[in-house]
C-alpha cells in the first residue's frame, strides 16, 4: 500500500487539520513544513482545495430544492397578490383614488387657508420632518399630529401637539417665545431641542439641549410649573392632573428620530422593545433565557439587519431572519 508520509508529506497533519483535531505542536509542525518550500505550500493548498471541493460537491448533491422552492414560492405568492399597477382594471381605480386624494387634499388646504389659516400635519405609519415658518424643525413620529396657525405664526410661535410624539428643534428667539400647547399643558421653550410625547395616561417632555418649562394652567389660580434642562424629564399625569419630574431621562427616548441607541447592561428583551418601536423589528427568542442577556452597545444610525449582526457578534448568538422576523438562538 502506498504511504505518502514516506514522501515527507505530512498528510496525516493535513487530514487532522481538516478535522480540526490538530494539537498546537502539530499545528506548528505543519506550519513549518508549509514554510519550508513553495512546493510544499502549493501541495498543501491543492489538498485543502480537494477537501473544499468535496464539501461543495456534498452541498450540491444534498441541497433540498423542494424545500427551498416551497420557501421561495411563498414570496412569489405574496408578490403576486400585491396589486399590479399598470393592469388596466386597476389603473382606472388608481386614477380614481388619486383624483379623490387630490381633491380632498386641495379642499382641506383651501378650507384651512380661508378659515383660520390653521395648518395640520398628520402621520400614519411614516415619520416626517416639518420646517415651521420660523425655521424651527419638528420631527413627527408615527401616528402623530401637530397644527399651527400660519397667519399669526410670526407674531406668536405656537404649535399644538394633537396626538402622538414630536421632537422639536427650536430656533431660539428671546423676543418671541416658542410654545407647544397640549390642552391645558403648555411647554414653553427657553432653550433649543426637546421631545414631547402624548400617551394614554401621560404627557412626557424630555429636554435634549437647553431648557424648557412645562406648565399646567388649570385652574388658573393654581399654576404648576417645572423647568427642565438637558436630559431631564417631566411627566404630566392626565388623571391626577399633576406634574412629576425626573432628573434622569431614559437613554433612548429620541432614538425614533435620530436612530442612536445606547445600551449599558440592558436586557435583550428591552433592546428588542426599542427596536420594535423604532424599526418595527419583530424578534423571536428560541429560549426565553436569551431575552435576559445583557447588551452593551452604541448603535449609531444602523439598519435593523446591522443591529442584529452586532447583537449576534457581541453576545455570540445565532440570529437568522425568516420572513422579516429575526429568530435568536444560541
Amino acid at each position: 500500500m502506498e504511504n505518502y508520509q514516506q514522501d515527507n508529506i505530512p498528510y496525516h497533519l493535513i487530514l487532522d487539520e481538516m478535522e480540526r483535531v490538530l494539537s498546537p505542536a502539530e499545528a506548528i509542525a505543519l506550519e513549518q513544513w508549509k514554510d519550508a518550500s513553495p512546493e510544499n505550500l502549493t501541495f498543501y493548498n491543492t489538498v485543502r482545495n480537494a477537501g473544499d471541493r468535496l464539501t461543495l460537491l456534498n452541498l450540491y448533491k444534498t441541497a433540498d430544492v423542494d424545500n427551498a422552492w416551497s420557501r421561495m414560492s411563498a414570496s412569489v405568492q405574496r408578490e403576486q397578490e400585491q396589486p399590479q399597477v399598470g393592469r388596466k382594471g386597476n389603473l382606472l381605480l388608481l386614477f380614481g383614488a388619486l383624483a379623490a386624494a387630490v381633491i380632498t387634499g386641495v379642499s382641506i388646504i383651501l378650507f384651512n387657508w380661508f378659515s383660520t389659516g390653521e395648518t395640520i400635519y398628520h402621520t400614519a405609519n411614516e415619520r416626517r420632518q416639518i420646517v415651521l415658518p420660523d425655521g424651527s424643525h419638528v420631527f413627527l413620529n408615527e401616528r402623530s399630529a401637530i397644527s399651527y396657525i400660519r397667519r399669526s405664526f410670526h407674531q406668536k410661535r405656537q404649535v399644538k401637539l394633537l396626538e402622538g410624539e414630536a421632537y422639536f428643534e427650536v430656533v431660539h428667539d428671546d423676543k418671541n417665545e416658542f410654545l407647544v400647547e397640549l390642552g391645558a399643558i403648555v411647554v414653553r421653550d427657553i432653550g433649543t431641542s426637546f421631545d414631547i410625547k402624548i400617551d394614554t395616561g401621560n404627557i412626557q417632555v424630555i429636554v435634549n439641549d437647553g431648557a424648557v418649562s412645562m406648565e399646567h394652567q388649570q385652574p388658573a389660580a393654581n399654576l404648576q410649573k417645572v423647568v427642565l434642562t438637558a436630559n431631564q424629564m417631566a411627566l404630566f399625569n392626565r388623571n391626577t392632573k399633576s406634574i412629576s419630574y425626573d432628573a434622569a431621562a431614559p437613554l433612548n427616548y429620541k432614538a425614533w428620530q435620530d436612530k442612536k441607541l445606547r445600551y449599558v447592561q440592558t436586557p435583550l428583551s428591552m433592546v428588542c422593545r426599542d427596536l420594535n418601536r423604532i424599526y418595527g423589528t419583530r424578534v423571536v427568542f428560541q429560549d426565553t433565557a436569551l431575552a435576559e442577556k445583557k447588551l452593551n452597545a452604541y448603535l449609531n444610525q444602523k439598519t435593523e439587519d446591522q443591529i442584529m449582526h452586532i447583537i449576534a457578534a457581541s453576545l455570540q448568538l445565532k440570529i437568522v431572519k425568516k420572513d422579516s422576523t429575526f429568530i435568536i438562538s444560541r
Binding site: L15, N45, T46, N49, L59, K61, V65, S73
Partner: protein
C-alpha cells in the same frame, strides 16, 4: 416534453419569455434548474448554507419580479452567476464592515465582469470531481465519503468499519491524492480562489 432535448440556452430563453408573462410554472422550472448550481456558487463565498440560500432566492426573485425590464434573454446564465457573486461579495463586505477589526480589509474580487458563467465552471468542476470519486477503490471511496459527507471523525470511521485508524488515514491519503490529481486541470484558478475563500471564510466564521 419536447423541450427535454433542447440545448440549455434555448430552454432558458423559452422559460424567460414565459416568466415575462408571469407564468409561475415556468419560474418554478427555472428555479429548480438553477437553484443547486447557484447555491454552491454562493456557498463558495459566504460559507453558510442559509445565507447562500438567501442570496440565491434574492437573485431569482428579482428575475421573477423584474423579468420584463431585464434585457438578459440571451445571457441569463452569466447574469445569474454574476448577480450571485456580487451579492455574496456584498454580504462578505458587510460582515467585514461590522467588525471594526477588519475595516482595512477589502475584498479584491478580481471577478471578471465578462460573460463568463462562473456557476457553470464550478458545476463542471464538481461533476468532474464526482467522476473522480466514482473511480476510487470502493473502500477508499467509502471512507472518504464518510469523512467528508457524513462528517465522521477518523476514529469513528475506524470503529464503524472495524479497521485500524492507520488504515483510515492511509485510505484518506490515497483518496485525496487521487482527487487532487484528477481536479488539478484547472488548478491555477481554483487554488487562487480557494485561498481567497479560506481568507474570506476565516473572516466570516470569526467570532468577534
Amino acid at each position: 416534453m419536447s423541450s427535454l432535448c433542447m440545448p440549455d440556452q434555448d430552454k432558458d430563453k423559452e422559460l424567460f419569455a414565459a416568466i415575462c408573462q408571469k407564468d409561475q410554472k415556468a419560474f418554478e422550472q427555472l428555479y429548480r434548474t438553477h437553484y443547486r448550481r447557484l447555491l454552491v456558487l454562493a456557498y463558495q463565498y459566504v460559507r453558510n448554507e442559509e445565507t447562500a440560500e438567501e442570496i440565491v432566492n434574492d437573485v431569482l426573485l428579482k428575475i421573477w419580479m423584474e423579468a420584463p425590464r431585464l434585457n438578459i434573454a440571451h445571457s441569463l446564465r452569466p447574469y445569474l452567476s454574476r448577480s450571485v457573486v456580487n451579492r455574496s461579495l456584498n454580504v462578505i463586505r458587510q460582515e467585514n464592515r461590522l467588525s471594526a477589526k477588519f475595516t482595512q480589509y477589502q475584498v479584491n474580487s478580481g471577478i471578471p465582469d465578462s460573460d463568463e458563467d462562473e456557476a457553470a465552471a464550478l458545476e463542471e468542476q464538481l461533476l468532474q470531481l464526482e467522476k473522480a470519486l466514482e473511480g476510487l477503490p470502493p473502500q477508499c471511496k467509502k471512507i472518504l465519503l464518510m469523512s467528508k459527507f457524513e462528517k465522521c471523525k477518523q476514529q469513528e470511521i475506524a470503529e464503524r468499519l472495524n479497521v485500524s485508524i492507520k488504515t483510515v488515514k492511509n485510505q484518506l491519503t490515497i483518496g485525496y491524492e487521487k482527487i487532487r490529481k484528477a481536479i488539478s486541470g484547472n488548478v491555477a484558478f481554483s487554488i487562487i480562489f480557494f485561498i481567497a475563500t479560506i481568507i474570506l471564510g476565516l473572516f466570516y466564521e470569526m467570532p468577534v
